[in-house]
């Protein structure tokens, strides 16, 4: 590596504790990729080296595979691996690798991306943290590699909340997006449903029957802890989600005798009714600006997705192209809405533009329910019985088949995708 090349490389040090903002650099490589639709970039993962002066660091084999999976699941790259015999670098744009330095209980990952074929550094960055949190360092590097090539961080460091069946009950769980660190959050021996993360990811709203008098809305820390009642009004209290600014909660209540959509304040008080219709109105989904809410209503005779302003006005039906639609989810950039459409005995997942045009089937076969966007808008997580029991799957919205998420062997449904972790870093140069 020449000194000139070193001079071009930006060294950044990220630690778990200290937030770091990385300035944009003129040397950043940018490849324009429209989310999920573009051709994947071929990238070759090389086994990382390690110098160990302590214990508790990663097995380099594990870490290599975590990095390769992160990149492969980013929807940006097609990955080949140096440690797999028949996967040779061919027509690749870059090499990805790095080295580990374990020192006592601390570990440092120096991740690097080299161009092809000259092996000039494109990105070299250090990540330090406790040795037992080495996976987080790998995820951060993977997300930075995604940013290097697309301008927007990846989502390897996010989490998925879901409910898992336990006999007749369903309990709330959370895990890393790659299935590691699975944690049971509720132990109510009741039915938990419909989790939704707070905008910064620290809390989960969900529906529970633990009170015994009907579905109520609770909140729990996404790290685990005590559950708190948010709304236990007479009748249904369901389908809750925080507004993007965290100040309001949209939910479905039937205090007036019929399921209607309400706004509550963040503590569950001062209900404001948004819909006023003899039909069912439910499943509110915020637009990322918080100015509009998509929801489901059967006011036309069968369930359909509608959009209204956040004050309940300006109601319009989303799409006329697809019959029996439900479970709207607004993409993080606000440009698309995912929803489900009923087939004979299940649901297909569609994505349309926010004005309802251009609806296209993205997941079909068996039943596919509760689609939720990743924070970068490149993926949808959903529940499906496509292989028998209900499990969680992710589609990258391209021609790859959906991939199943490991949920500790549990039957899983009702997924929610967390935002990127707050405080560990700033998001820079997001693609408009």
């Amino acid at each position: 590596m020449s000194f000139r090349a070193i001079g071009l490389v930006m060294f950044g040090v990220l630690t778990l504790a200290v937030p770091a903002r990385r300035p944009a650099s003129a040397d950043d490589v940018r490849v324009d990729i429209s989310s999920g639709q573009g051709r994947r970039i071929r990238i070759h993962c090389e086994a990382m080296t390690s110098s160990s002066h302590g214990r508790g660091g990663p097995s380099s084999v594990d870490a290599d595979e975590v990095l390769a999976s992160d990149l492969d699941h980013s929807a940006v790259f097609t990955v080949s691996r140096s440690w797999v015999a028949n996967e040779q670098p061919f027509d690749v744009q870059a090499f990805v690798g790095g080295k580990w330095n374990v020192s006592g209980s601390q570990v440092q990952l120096t991740g690097q991306v080299l161009d092809f074929p000259a092996r000039r550094p494109i990105l070299v960055r250090d990540y330090r943290g406790p040795a037992n949190q080495w996976r987080a360092l790998v995820h951060r590097f993977a997300d930075d590699v995604v940013q290097q090539f697309t301008g927007e961080l990846g989502v390897s460091e996010t989490r998925i909340a879901f409910v898992a069946r336990q006999g007749r009950d369903k309990e709330l769980y959370v895990m890393d997006v790659d299935g590691a660190g699975i944690t049971q959050l509720t132990h109510d021996h009741s039915i938990a449903l419909s989790p939704a993360f707070s905008p910064e990811g620290s809390l989960l709203l969900f529906t529970t029957y633990r009170g015994g008098t009907g579905p109520q809305i609770d909140v729990v820390s996404s790290q685990g802890g005590k559950e708190y009642l948010v709304s236990g009004r007479k009748g249904n209290n369901t389908s809750a989600s925080y507004a993007p600014d965290g100040r309001d909660i949209a939910c479905t209540l039937s205090i007036d005798g019929n399921p209607e959509i309400y706004l509550l304040d963040a503590r569950g008080g001062s209900p404001r009714r948004l819909t006023n219709n003899r039909a069912i109105d439910t499943s509110p989904a915020w637009s990322p600006t918080g100015r509009e809410i998509a929801f489901t209503s059967d006011r036309s005779g069968s369930p359909q997705v509608y959009v209204m302003d956040r004050d309940g006005g300006n109601v319009r039906r989303l799409s006329y192209d697809v019959s029996y639609t439900d479970s709207p989810a607004w993409s993080p950039r606000g440009d698309r809405i995912a929803f489900v459409s009923r087939t004979g005995s299940g649901f297909d997942i569609y994505v349309c533009r926010a004005d309802g045009s251009g609806a296209r089937l993205v997941v079909g076969g068996a039943s596919n329910e509760n689609p939720r966007w990743s924070p970068d808008g490149r993926h949808l997580v959903f529940a499906s019985n496509r292989e028998g029991a209900y499990a969680l799957y992710v589609t990258d919205l391209d021609d790859r088949p959906p991939r199943r998420l490991e949920t500790g062997g549990k039957e899983a449904m009702s997924p929610a995708w967390s935002p990127r972790p707050a405080g560990t870093r700033a998001m820079t140069n997001s693609t408009p």
Partner: protein
């Protein structure tokens, strides 16, 4: 506290006297209670737990206890909370039973088949329970005797995946409060 002490002492010294006077006609032993005995601690004022009854009380032959299973469930069409004719007939019979058993309070559970989404089915189940309740109110059952709860598709009668199972799961049925 310091100022109350003499008063407390006075009261405590009087208690044995009062007790002695009260008990004098009841039992001689009580009268013989030495006056220096400390007054009864407060917990003694609560009656001791009643002895466990070992012999079964001879109950007169009564009508069999009312059971929620006596109330007929109500079934619905797909995506519907409209009461069919068979549902009205079932609810008429239920109303009669509820009038005859005026002390019974019930929970009306609304349920759905698995073909809707979780959230929509919670709303639909609520409408089904409410439809049954509204009919019973019309039939003269006081609203105060009935609660509704929607389980959506979470508690199917039949876990099958065909129309026979679904038809059984689209229901409002009854439990006791």
């Amino acid at each position: 506290m310091q100022r109350l002490r003499p008063f407390v002492r006075l009261v405590t010294s009087l208690v044995p006297v009062v007790l002695a006077v009260a008990l004098i006609g009841c039992a001689k032993k009580a009268v013989e209670t030495p006056p220096e005995q400390t007054p009864a601690p407060p917990q003694q004022t609560t009656p001791p737990p009643a002895p466990v009854q070992t012999t079964p009380t001879p109950t007169p032959p009564s009508p069999p206890a009312f059971s929620a299973a006596d109330l007929q469930p109500v079934f619905f069409d797909l995506d519907s909370s409209t009461l069919r004719d068979d549902a009205r007939a079932a609810l008429d019979a239920d109303a009669k039973l509820l009038r005859e058993n005026g002390s019974v309070h019930i929970v009306i559970e609304g349920h759905c088949d698995e073909r809707g989404t979780v959230e929509y089915n919670q709303a639909l189940g609520e409408r089904r329970a409410q439809a049954a309740k509204d009919y019973l109110v019309q039939a003269g059952i006081p609203e105060s005797r009935m609660q509704t709860i929607s389980y959506g598709k979470e508690r199917p009668f039949d876990v099958g995946h065909d129309e026979a199972a679904w038809a059984k799961n689209r229901r409002a049925h009854f439990a006791l409060q």
